[in-house]
């Protein structure tokens, strides 16, 4: 087949020998990759409490760790900056990223099967933390371990924004902490100032008040605004739709959307449980009561005047609708501000968008005697350590966990790829404070005043519900809400159906 010189001297390998060698090599590679490639490996040098900080950071030099995370900016930023950690510790970290539902499945299989292929996990509070909390290592013994490096900013509740540590780290009990706040997505209102100003006169003539969004704007005002723009659009005016929501295929976003409305009006919650720690036995649900039926009716009313493609939109898709200039307002997670302010991809960039708190409840809609608040919710992504790993692996993983949530790292994330800080000390940095007004080099910081000074504070924030069946709860709720919004059932039927299914789910029927 190949050209061979006449006088060539070489040993010809027989076909059998070639196949034997090839087979052997393939087997060795396969076995080798299975043993080395999938898991984490550990190398340890003993250190004492009195050892230097450098020795403590380097005690696991030569080890390999695997971190499975969501494909959000902080993880990309950490991956870009990973050499700093490797230089500091000598530990090699493989960072794998994927969509949240995929991360949830992979992590779930790994944890529940007793394995530790993914030593470090992205612990998104409700979808991952609530169902798998018991499989994560308790970090509290490591916080005070003098043979491990520690973050000077500490890990107590005061080190993080209000409730962040509890949201992603505490499940069903106060004592055990399974994750440290790694990133966050807090809901707030994005709206087009330019479009609001251009249509203010017409709106005022129709509704008797100015077209503007403040912290006192209610959900009733949002319905008015959305109806105004829809009517104008249908009349042939060159305006976008007024409002849109995410009721697409990822069930959690639908649940969060209706939760904001429910909580804003009387601080209504699905169960009478502590939403900070959650409950393994939540008991009978409040779905089906007068308040829930009324709010479901209002939610449907709002959906009817929104952008018509709500049922196909998740967070990313809704943000694209806003970027494309097809809506004037959205309730979105503050991590998306960076993409809105990107002039290459967004028609809403260049100072056109303002960021505000979530809409407030409407007093006349409250039937349960509660107060009207700016119902806000969030998702806190923690970094947790697989409880199935050996003690040394857990300790090595801990060094990465505390490094990844350190002030410097969070600041780099914010500056580089648009991270969302969880440490108060980042918020206190002068450079960050300056970036909260335009012109800014950190667009996510434009949301910080609304988010960190208002949305996440009591009484506006709702953290839960944290229940072990969180994912099935999201799925049931989303399906019934979507059926209601697409006229397959009435709001009352939807609420009763949710009630029946949730009570059956929790054995409270």
């Amino acid at each position: 087949m190949f050209y061979v010189p006449k006088e060539a001297v070489f040993r010809r390998i027989s076909r059998r020998k070639f196949l034997e060698l090839g087979g052997g090599a393939a087997s060795s590679l396969g076995v080798g990759s299975m043993t080395l490639g999938l898991g984490s490996t550990i190398t340890r040098r003993r250190v004492q409490a009195q050892s230097s900080d450098d020795a403590k950071w380097k005690q696991y030099a030569g080890s390999k760790l695997t971190f499975l995370s969501e494909n959000t900016p902080p993880s990309f930023a950490v991956r870009d900056n990973i050499k700093t950690f490797q230089d500091l510790t000598g530990i090699e970290v493989t960072i794998l990223t994927d969509d949240l539902p995929v991360v949830q499945q992979k992590v779930g299989i790994d944890l529940r099967s007793g394995k530790a292929d993914y030593l470090l996990n992205y612990v998104q509070d409700k979808p991952i933390g609530a169902p798998f909390a018991e499989f994560y290592a308790d970090m509290t013994p490591l916080f005070g371990d003098a043979t491990l490096p520690q973050d000077p900013d500490g890990y107590g509740d005061d080190a993080w924004f209000e409730n962040f540590l509890s949201a992603c780290g505490r499940f069903y009990t106060e004592g055990k902490i399974v994750a440290l706040p790694y990133d966050c997505a807090v809901a707030c209102t994005f709206y087009r100032q330019d479009i609001f100003e251009a249509n203010s006169k017409d709106f005022e003539a129709e509704h008797g008040y100015r077209l503007e969004f403040t912290k006192d704007s209610t959900w009733k005002n949002v319905i008015d605004m959305a109806a105004f723009f829809k009517k104008a659009k249908e009349a042939g005016k060159d305006v976008p739709y007024g409002y849109a929501q995410h009721h697409g295929s990822f069930a959690w976003t639908t649940q969060l959307d209706i939760q904001r409305l429910l909580f804003a009006n009387g601080r209504w919650m699905d169960w009478n449980i502590d939403d900070v720690y959650g409950s393994k036995e939540p008991g009978k649900t409040n779905w089906g009561d007068e308040q829930s039926v009324l709010i479901m009716t209002k939610f449907k009313e709002l959906a009817d005047v929104c952008h018509p493609d709500n049922l196909a939109n998740g967070t990313l898709e809704l943000n694209t609708v806003y970027q494309a200039g097809n809506i004037a307002m959205q309730t979105q997670y503050h991590e998306f501000a960076a993409s809105i302010e990107d002039e290459k991809t967004s028609r809403a960039a260049g100072g056109k968008t303002a960021y505000a708190v979530c809409p407030k409840g409407e007093a006349s809609w409250i039937k349960n005697g509660g107060e009207a608040v700016n119902g806000c919710n969030l998702g806190i992504g923690g970094i947790g350590i697989n409880g199935n790993a050996s003690d040394d692996l857990k300790r090595a993983a801990y060094t990465f966990a505390i490094w990844s949530v350190s002030r410097e790292n969070q600041f780099n994330d914010l500056k580089g790829l648009g991270g969302t800080p969880t440490r108060k000390s980042v918020f206190a940095m002068e450079e960050v404070k300056k970036s909260m007004v335009r012109p800014t080099t950190m667009p996510n910081a434009l949301t910080f005043d609304a988010v960190y000074n208002y949305c996440i504070k009591n009484p506006h924030i709702v953290l839960g519900p944290k229940i072990p069946q969180a994912n099935e709860y999201h799925s049931i709720l989303a399906a019934e809400v979507q059926k209601c919004l697409s006229n397959e059932q009435t709001p009352e039927e939807a609420c009763k159906s949710i009630q029946t299914q949730l009570d059956e789910l929790n054995g409270a029927g």
């Binding site: 169902p131 049922l311 979507q482």
Partner: protein
Amino acid sequence: MNSIAADRAKPGAGLFRVRQILDNVEAKPVSTALTWPATLNPAASKRYYFWLVAPAVALLAFISIYPFFWMIYMGLHDVEIGSVVWNDFANFTRLPSDSRYVGGWLLLFQYSAMCLALQIGIGVFLAVALNGLRHEKILVTMLLMPMMIAPLVAGMVWYFLYNGTFGWYHWLLQSVGILGPKSILGSPDTAMLAIVIIDVWQWTPLITLITLAGLKRVPQDQLEANMVDGASPFVNFISVTLPNLYPVLLIAIMLRFMDNFRFIDSALVLTGGGPGNATKILPIYLFEVSFKFFKLGRGAAIALTLLVVTIILGMILAKVFDRLHPKRT
């Protein structure tokens, strides 16, 4: 009458005349001449063959039979890490009252029926249109391209095409007035159609390919005889071509129906079972129960019912196939 003449007299034997003569002529000398030296090919015992195939059988058993029985075992228990608890068939007895399970079955039948009807109709039409064309091979190769794409990737591609903000197909359908601002995935009325279209786009070429192979063995003499009797091409197709295609079409139907019953990839990417439960066909619900809710016992019970129904329907199709295509003796 000699034996060849007697065979020719049997009904239907004319079609296979040439082959029968060859068989008869060639069989005699070959069967008498074939004697191997005993020393080179000693008669192998059954035990010898058993040991030859045993490793492969053991491997197959390990990767298919063991999980099958394990699935049955799980279906009868509540399965948690480190604990498997017998639950008095609760995983099975709860199924009839589970609206998502029952709905999943109905949607699965609806989805499979729509896919099969469209794929068979379009596939046969394309095969007939392509059969005998000058560039048949090139066109068939081009037609097969969708089949070479991983279903998950196909789902992603169509997801972007359907997108209400930047999707090219959405824009096209909106421009011609078929769709409004609501995208095809944004309504329970059209979402199922969206995933059916993808399956039809991806797997109709398989039906075309199988049908084309069937068309090549339609007896020309029957077609010619029918035409001599004055049949139009359409009548010829209905009365001669189609009956000859039944066996291959049944194989195609069986393949596609079994494939559709385990379908999940692109639907998961496109709709995740929504809006509402409009596209939550049973395999998607099974996936959710097992790998989202992590109720492995309940998931195993659902999987088992899916397997049993698939086998029963497969057997019914095989029976139909046997009736339409009895073994010739």
